[in-house]
């Protein structure tokens, strides 16, 4: 491989990784938008999504096979199940805390994260679970650049979900309500918007997107375990902050930027792959110093 091939290949790698980050970051940013909560349990919903998708695929793979059609059906199932789990978590753990100080609800989110992790740890015995999808190794060769079919399907699916979300938020009545709630919850209540329902739907969509990423990651990488949500949760949070927390296009952009940073961080001459995270987080600090609202975030306006 010559240099231009390596750059192109890392671009592909960064896109794939960035798609996962973006899908998870979207949930962070949407939930922060409506209730100003950093939902630290979000990475664990990704993990639960991986497990639900695995169970669903195991149940149906006899009929539809373990290739992408089966994975998509399993993914839909995981999205619905984890979406509902997200709503339940909001009603049980966060809703009673909405009037409490911001720190209390943040700690509640950490507790929810631990509950989810340990529940899955208890159920699986802490073992790695092989995800028996059968996706094949095929792909396109362009010179020595190699793009797998799987990678194209992954990025395509992630893009489709993001476009659908963007259309939902910008073109529907409900999306408008969601944006309104993110600006001023109390005023929305006064204007007759059913705020609790808007919050529930936001949790449903955010959690479902994380579950979609979890199932696809399980199928693509081939294994799942109870701790797989921790690191990606952290990275997705970083992506959301880089893009501008609260901004939906920002989360997508932040995810891709972080994915690309990591891919190219591995390749910097003289700096080994053990430094790639240092590199990514240095960029995060730079963004926060130079543009504290993130790449696409809007500054909060204080009104007198």
């Amino acid at each position: 491989m010559n240099l231009s091939d390596i750059v192109a290949q890392q671009l592909v790698n960064g896109l794939v990784l960035g798609s996962f980050y973006a899908l998870v970051a979207l949930g962070y940013t949407m939930i922060f938008g409506v209730i100003k909560l950093l939902n630290f349990a979000h990475g664990d919903l990704y993990m639960v999504g991986g497990f639900v998708g695995f169970l669903a695929l195991s149940a149906i793979s006899g009929v539809v096979g373990g290739d992408w059609p089966g994975v998509f059906i399993a993914m839909l199932f995981a999205m619905i199940a984890v979406g509902c789990l997200g709503v339940v978590i909001e009603r049980v753990a966060y809703h009673p805390m909405l009037a409490a100080p911001r720190l209390s609800i943040l700690i509640t989110a950490l507790a929810v994260s631990l509950v989810l992790q340990n529940a899955v740890l208890g159920l699986t015995g802490g073992q790695y679970q092989a995800f028996r999808a059968d996706l094949g190794f095929g792909g396109f060769d362009i010179g020595s650049l190699f793009i797998q079919h799987n990678q194209m399907v992954l990025v395509g699916t992630a893009a489709l979900l993001m476009v659908a979300l963007q259309l939902f938020v910008t073109r529907t009545q409900f999306g408008r309500a969601m944006r309104a709630v993110s600006i001023d919850k109390d005023m929305c209540q006064l204007m007759g918007i059913n705020v609790p329902v808007v919050i529930a739907v936001t949790f449903f969509i955010g959690s479902a997107l994380a579950a979609a990423a979890g199932t696809m990651a399980g199928a693509y990488y081939g294994s799942i375990w109870y701790f797989m949500g921790f690191l990606i949760g952290l990275k997705a949070f970083t992506a959301a902050v880089i893009g501008g927390i609260g901004s939906i296009p920002g989360a997508m952009l932040g995810g891709l930027v972080l994915g690309l940073l990591e891919a190219f961080g591995t390749q910097i001459p003289g700096i080994g792959s053990e430094w790639k995270d240092v590199f990514s987080f240095a960029v995060l600090i730079l963004v926060l110093v130079l543009k504290p609202t993130g790449l696409l975030g809007k500054p909060e306006q204080e009104r007198m």
Binding site: V16, G222, L231, E274
Partner: protein, 369 residues
């Protein structure tokens, strides 16, 4: 939980059928293995093997006329958890400890057992970093990392490889093996084409795979554990890498095939001798399979040996006095155990290396050397 139940069941059985030593106090042996976390497979496997040894010893009248009891401390392959586990075992006044799987998690426990003067038979962990940290009460019955590195360089050279990419995970065990292999490989006159570190817990290795394909080495050597190794192997082959792939003894698990799938075909693994390849271990393997409905894993014979060695040392010392037991272990003189003869160097490491080479074929390991 399951192991603890099984171990307890084995203990109860042994007591029921055992000698008249029922009324006497049992000699408590600590077992430090990961029973949760990414390495739980190995840890449970070791605990199972130790329980078998315990059952057999008790059925034969125990040690010094007393029965052995087993207390499991979960190290979770995590330095903080293992320190908690070790403190727990020490506070329960165990006579000796067997186990130690992850080197990174075993390292901080050496001081705890050293301060409490508890004899510690390290059955699996084999980083050379453990050697200088050993206060003198620990004995390593697995070949150390440098003996594996030498074997790896020999074998890969014999396969015609001259350029090598080494990938580790930044923990004590895998980094140690990676550094030793790098030094031995350069010393043999070959080139290290790439030296990469992956983050533990990260699923995506694509950036590293591309870096490796850019360097285009004859062989790739993964020095860490199977769960992430499976991911790397899969992504290397998916990414179009066609050279030799070899993995260290931490990845020598049947579960590697579950995760890596077809990609694990033709992968080489360096391994301490597993039960399948040990003539002396056939009876043990049969007992294990009967009791646990699964084949013994790679460290089962060593864990079994570790428990028997400790019991042997207590018997030889003639008391449960720690100094006497340590003295007895230090003077072990090539007695035959499942995995071969055990005698120790002055640094309490195994005097004789025991590494073999395996190859992945049809979803299972076969002997390749």
């Amino acid at each position: 939980m399951q192991i603890i139940k099984k171990a307890a069941a084995a203990g109860v059985l042994a007591l029921a059928f055992g000698s008249p030593a029922l009324a006497q106090d049992a000699i408590a042996i600590g077992v430090q293995v990961p029973t949760t976390g990414s390495e739980a497979t190995y840890g449970q496997d070791m605990a199972n093997a130790i329980a078998i040894a315990q059952g057999e010893i008790n059925a034969n009248g125990g040690v010094l006329g007393q029965q052995l009891s087993m207390v499991v401390g979960d190290s979770a392959c995590d330095p903080q958890q293992s320190v908690n586990a070790a403190s727990k075992l020490v506070s329960l006044n165990v006579v000796g400890v067997v186990g130690g799987y992850c080197s990174g998690a075993t390292l901080p426990t050496l001081k705890i057992y050293g301060d409490a003067n508890v004899p510690f038979v390290i059955a699996a962990a084999n980083s050379t970093q453990l050697i200088p940290a050993n206060p003198g009460n620990a004995f390593m019955i697995n070949s150390t990392g440098d003996q594996q590195a030498t074997r790896a360089v020999e074998f890969l050279s014999s396969k015609g490889a001259t350029t090598l990419a080494i990938v580790n995970q930044g923990d004590a065990y895998s980094q140690d093996l990676a550094n030793l292999t790098r030094d031995a490989w350069t010393e043999a006159g070959h080139t290290v084409a790439a030296f990469e570190t992956a983050n533990k817990g990260e699923q995506d290795f694509s950036a590293i795979v591309t870096a490796i394909r850019g360097a285009n080495p004859d062989a790739v050597f993964w020095t860490a554990y199977f769960a992430d190794g499976g991911l790397l192997i899969r992504q290397l082959r998916q990414g179009g890498y066609q050279g030799i792939i070899a993995v260290g003894d931490g990845s020598n698990s049947p579960n590697l095939f579950d995760i890596a799938g077809r990609a694990a075909e033709g992968v080489f693994a360096f391994s301490n001798p597993t039960a399948d390849f040990l003539p002396a271990a056939q009876d043990f393997a049969e007992t294990y399979t009967q009791q646990y409905n699964a084949a013994p894993g790679p460290y089962a014979p060593l864990a079994y040996d570790g428990m028997r060695l400790l019991a042997w040392a207590i018997e030889k010392a003639g008391s449960t006095d720690a100094d006497a037991i340590i003295e007895a272990l230090a003077t072990a003189d090539g007695e035959e155990w499942l995995a071969g003869p055990i005698s120790f160097t002055e640094q309490n490491t195994l005097a004789r290396s025991n590494f073999i080479v395996l190859e992945g074929k049809d979803g299972a390991w076969t002997r390749a050397d």
